[in-house]
Symmetry: C2
Subunit: 150 residues, 2 copies
């Protein structure tokens, strides 16, 4: 096997490992909130997106709209999100984070983010360039795959 | 901001994106089996590990042993795994995959794996080397983080 093939094989293994670890990691963090990983993903969206709707959450997570409604009821009851109506069009309902979980999330993820930074700082610019390009192209591949699988 | 800091920032964003995509991707694939992502992760373990025990599954997924028992009951009922006793020590119970899901999984993940390979093939050996080193160190970071969060 060429050095090239060997590297491609190891990177494939590492990507699968990382993907499994992401799942376990999300689960561990969600457990701390007493939520499941999809709830947490939805909270993440609510914190980042303007004018977030239930439809958009269904799109991103691949959940049915009735499952999204149940999820939002659960999160609203626990004080993590609130629903509000569009001032111009009262029929439109949006979802926003109350901010309750952000502080705790930042606290939990802080050490991970610091450790990641210090790994990256030990590589030169040329290597980081390659990593950025590879990860960016792989994100496109994953997104295309998810769109097809749904 | 230096070129270096800029790259580190983008790579951090891409890693977070990839981690969210992994979650959605596992969900999409699990849906095709009528399973949840943790069930699927457990099946994955059963297919790869020799002498897999319920305790080992609890370790890797961070689930309680009673939750693992319920999960194994569910998977056994659906024909995905089977429990068997150690020939030498009849008190020891192991779990193995029946192989029912592997073929379907290979079918689903085949296109993703091919697309990933063709992205990687477009980079030179030096770049792939850097990517392998970064991913391998980041996997260590994630594993240390998961151990601490549990």
């Amino acid at each position: 096997m060429s050095r090239r093939d060997e590297l491609i094989g190891s990177i494939g293994d590492l990507l699968r490992l990382q993907s499994g670890l992401a799942l376990v990691l999300h689960q561990a963090v969600a457990d701390q909130f007493g939520l499941n990983p999809t709830d947490l993903k939805c909270l993440d969206l609510a914190a980042r997106e303007e004018a977030l709707t239930a439809g958009r959450i269904a799109d991103v997570t691949g959940m049915s709209t009735s499952a999204v409604t149940a999820l939002l009821d659960r999160l609203e009851k626990r004080g993590f999100v609130e629903r509000y109506r569009d001032a111009a069009d009262r029929r439109k309902v949006y979802v926003r984070s109350t901010g309750q979980h952000e502080e705790k999330l930042a606290e939990i993820y802080g050490p991970l983010s610091d450790a990641t930074d210090s790994v990256l700082r030990s590589f030169d610019v040329k290597s980081l360039d390659a990593v950025r390009d590879v990860l960016s192209q792989l994100a496109d591949v994953s997104q295309a795959f998810i769109r097809r699988e749904r």
